[in-house]
Symmetry: C2
Subunit: 147 residues, 2 copies
């Protein structure tokens, strides 16, 4: 179990890989971001993107899934007040394999029993190009005295 | 069709409503944010949230859907480089009805034929309490000369 005290500035956490399928891009876009370049290969070809791309919110959600599996669900995570500087740097396309990394920027006590951790999430594609970054803020419980 | 020139600073755009179901909260969380307080009523009751809440990324995706339906798909939208100051201010729970608003903060020419629009997205719940805000940056095509 990862507690606040275990999270140190400059710590780099690998988040594993995620394969993005065309089916999943279309499913997410249909529900949450039905713009032509996320929904239809044909419309996307005529767009500035030259082909189907994933919704930026889909890409961010994929980063979250990797972060939950690799870190949060093994930790005393208590949720998040928000995210800063979410940047979509390159299109994510069907067949891309994304690799995540989370680097801790700052840790500080927040309230009794809770610490705040600021870190940079990053996703790279199979060509090692960064496709997305954000700065996340997360609350973590401190280690119980009796453990 | 909404072009860059039609988007003015301080313009307020209502984004309509979205009803959040327990089923949808669980479906999104299962795929993208499988933390106990997003996935299970029972675990959520024991958490600091006191009951099941939607993933913050789900809430942001709902805001996007409202923005696409009300604005982007009626506009010359050309995608977005990113979002700032995404804030999850209150939990979103099953049965909540969210209402969106987008307020333009700044508009400026970007490249030939493209303008950049910065605006504040906001979601309120049925009690008129703000649950989420973010600052979005969007690119829009300018009005074609011949139209």
């Amino acid at each position: 179990m990862i507690y606040f005290e275990d999270l140190k500035e400059n710590m780099e956490m690998p988040l594993g890989k995620y394969s993005v399928t065309k089916e999943e891009i279309l499913e997410f876009a249909t529900k949450y971001d039905p713009q032509p370049f996320h929904l239809s290969e044909e419309s996307a070809k005529k767009s500035m993107f030259g082909g189907l791309i994933a919704s930026g919110w889909h890409t961010a959600s994929i980063a979250m899934r990797l972060y939950v599996d690799a870190v949060l669900n093994k930790s005393a995570s208590l949720g998040s007040p928000g995210v800063d500087e979410l940047r979509w740097k390159r299109p994510v396309r069907p067949g891309d394999v994304l690799t995540g990394k989370f680097t801790i920027i700052e840790t500080k006590p927040f309230r009794k029993g809770i610490g705040m951790v600021k870190g940079r999430a990053e996703l790279r594609n199979q060509d090692d190009k960064i496709v997305m970054t954000f700065i996340g803020n997360g609350m973590f419980g401190t280690r119980p005295a009796k453990e």
